[in-house]
Amino acid sequence: MSPLIPHRVLFIAALLSVFSLNAFAAPGEVEMNSFAEREVMVVKNGKKVSELRPVDKAVPGDEIIYTTRFKNLTGKPAGRIVISNPVPNSSVYVANSARGNNTAITFSVDGGKSFAAADKLIIQAKEGKTRPALPAEYTHIRWTYKGDLGVGKSGEISFRAAIK
C-alpha cells in the first residue's frame, strides 16, 4: 500500500476542497475522514501497477476499498480508541481485507451486538448446531487501537467490500 500513499494524499486534498462533507474537525478533537476507492491497473513507466482511485463506474461484483483516517488534534494523547464500521449497504465484506496498523480487528455477525475475531465467529445453524461464520455474513467491523494515539499522530484503517 505504501507506494500508493502520495496519490491518496492528493486525492484527500481534492476531496476536501471539492466536497464539504468531511469538514475539518475543530481543534481539540480527533479528526476523521472516510472515503471509498477502487483499485485500478494503470501503466506507469511501462509497468502495470495498481492504483487506488475514487470510485467511478461501480457495478455489482466490484470491490470497493473503504478507508478511514484519523488524527489526534486534542493536544493530549487519545486513549481507548475504538472504530466501528458497519459493512456498507448492498455490500459484502471481502475475506481477510480489514487492515489497521496497531489495531486488533474483530467482526460482528449480529448487527454489532457482539464482536469476535474472524476465527471465533460462530453462526447458529439448524438443530442447535453451530458453524463458522462466512465473511459474507459479517455485519460490522471493529478496530481497537492498541495503546494511546500520540499528540498530532494519525492512523488509518481500511477494508474491502464487494457490491452485491
Partner: protein, 405 residues
C-alpha cells in the same frame, strides 16, 4: 479464512474449511445480477476515544456516496435441436434469453443463417418472445418480435420460426443464430432504467470516459457470443441452434428372375412362350424417419400373364400355372415379405404372407395392372403405430410370377 487456533482434528478442520469455501462460493454466485442500478452506497465509521481517561463524544465520518451503475449483461443459450422434414413451414428452434443486468431491460431479437458448417439455410426466419400465456410456441400468442421488460435474473424462451426448403435430403442440417441486443431508456431519476412497456427501449450506449458522480453510468459486461458481429462488451449476446432434416428415403427396386421354361425346365431356362419369371418389387426406407406407404402399381407388359397360383416349378412339366405346385395355395398369387416380423394382412408377427389373386385384399390385379395398397397389406401393430408404416431401415417386398404368352 484463518486456519489456526482450531483444536479439532486436522481432517475435521479441513472438511469444515472446505464446506465453508463451498458455501462462500455459492454466496458469490448469488450476486448474479446484483444490486439494482441507482442504489446509493456509502460507508460510515464511528470512532470512540478518551482523553486523559475521560470519554469524548464519538466522531463519525462518511465516505462520499456513490451510486451503483448499470451493468448491461445478458445470455443467449440454445435449446435442443429441432428435427424437420423437407418443405415444412413454421418450424421452431428454441432459445432462451436471460437478463443478467441489474435492472429490467428490453431486448431486440435478430436471426442469421450461419455461413459455414451446415448444408442449407432455413428461410423466412423470425424470432418471437414467449408471451407467457401458454408455454411453448403458440403462433397466435407469441407474436412479439422483441422482449419487453425482462426482469433481473430472469430468462425467457425465444422461438426462432423458419421454413425448410423442399429440396433437402436426410441428415442435412441448417445452423441458425440468434442475437439479442439489450435496449432500454435510462431516463429515470439519476439515470436509472425507465420502463417502456409495449415498445422496445432505445439503443443503449456505454458511458464513455469518467464516472458521472451520483448518476447511473452504463457499463457493458457481456461476453462475446457465437455469431458474427457479437463481440464482448457490446450489449449483445448470441448462440446458434440446429435444424436437422430427418426424412424417409425410399428406394423401390424391381428385380426379375427367370424360373423355368416348358422345354428346359429349371435348368438354364430361356424367355420362350410359357416361361415363368419371378418378380420382386422391394421398397426400402433408408432414411432416418418413418414413412407411410400408400400404393405401388405395376403394369405388366401385354405379353405377360400373371401366375394366379404363384407356382414353384421343379421341371419342364411343372413349368405351368395349372400343373405346377402353388407355393401357398391356389389363387394365392402374391407373396409379401418383410425384413422385420410384423402384421402382414391378417397374419400376426410374420415375415411373409400370401395374398389372393381373386379377392380384394390389398394386393390385386385388374387387367394388366397390379396394385398394392399398403395400408391394407401392412396394418398397424405393436411396432407400427399406423397402417402402411415403413420404419427406418425396414424393407417390404411384393413377389409374384408372370408367364410369357
Amino acid at each position: 479464512m484463518k486456519t489456526k487456533a482450531r483444536s479439532s482434528p486436522s481432517n475435521i478442520k479441513l472438511t469444515a474449511l472446505l464446506v465453508a469455501g463451498l458455501m462462500f462460493g455459492a454466496a458469490q454466485n448469488a450476486l448474479a445480477a446484483g444490486t439494482a442500478a441507482g442504489t446509493s452506497i456509502s460507508n460510515t465509521a464511528t470512532l470512540a476515544y478518551e482523553v486523559l481517561g475521560v470519554p469524548q463524544t464519538d466522531k463519525t465520518a462518511s465516505s462520499t456516496p456513490f451510486v451503483v451503475d448499470e451493468k448491461i449483461n445478458l445470455t443467449v443459450a440454445n435449446g435442443v435441436s429441432t428435427n424437420v422434414v423437407p418443405g415444412a413451414s413454421t418450424q421452431v428452434l428454441l432459445f432462451t434469453v436471460t437478463n443478467n443486468a441489474n435492472s429490467p431491460l428490453d431486448f431486440n431479437l435478430a436471426t442469421n443463417q450461419v455461413a459455414a458448417g451446415d448444408q442449407f439455410d432455413a428461410t423466412a426466419c423470425t424470432a418471437y418472445a414467449e408471451s407467457g400465456a401458454t408455454a411453448g410456441y403458440q403462433s397466435a400468442q407469441d407474436t412479439a418480435t422483441f422482449i419487453d421488460e425482462l426482469a433481473i435474473d430472469t430468462g425467457i424462451n425465444v422461438y426462432v420460426v423458419c421454413s425448410i426448403p423442399a429440396d433437402r435430403v436426410d441428415s442435412d442440417i441448417a445452423l441458425v443464430g440468434l442475437t439479442a441486443t439489450a435496449r432500454g431508456d435510462f431516463t429515470g431519476v439519476n439515470g436509472v432504467y425507465a420502463a417502456t412497456v409495449g415498445t422496445a427501449g432505445a439503443a443503449i450506449t456505454a458511458t464513455a470516459g469518467a464516472d458521472t458522480v451520483g448518476t447511473v453510468d452504463i457499463v457493458f459486461s457481456d461476453v462475446a457470443g457465437t455469431e458474427a458481429g457479437d463481440a464482448a462488451s457490446d450489449a449483445k449476446h448470441s448462440d446458434r441452434n440446429t435444424y436437422s432434416v430427418v426424412t424417409a428415403a425410399l428406394t423401390v427396386t424391381k428385380t426379375a428372375t427367370l424360373v423355368c421354361d416348358p422345354t428346359n425346365g429349371v435348368t438354364n431356362p430361356k424367355n420362350i412362350p410359357g416361361a415363368i419369371t419371378k418378380w420382386t418389387i422391394a421398397v426400402t426406407n433408408s432414411g432416418s424417419a418413418d414413412a407411410t406407404l400408400t400404393t405401388v402399381s405395376d403394369t405388366l407388359s401385354a405379353t405377360l400373364a400373371h401366375d394366379a397360383n404363384l407356382v414353384v416349378p421343379t421341371n419342364a412339366a411343372t413349368c405351368d400355372t395349372a400343373a405346377g405346385t402353388a407355393e401357398s395355395a391356389a389363387n394365392a398369387g402374391f407373396k409379401v415379405t418383410s425384413s422385420v416380423a410384423r402384421d402382414i394382412g391378417g397374419n400376426a408377427a410374420a415375415t411373409s404372407a400370401f395374398f389372393t389373386t381373386n379377392t380384394a385384399d390389398g394386393l390385386d390385379i385388374a387387367g394388366q395392372v397390379i396394385t398394392a395398397t399398403y395400408a391394407t397389406i401392412l396394418p398397424s401393430d405393436a411396432g407400427h403405430t399406423s397402417n402402411g408404416l415403413l420404419k427406418s431401415g425396414e424393407t417390404v417386398s411384393i413377389i409374384f410370377n408372370t408367364v410369357v404368352q
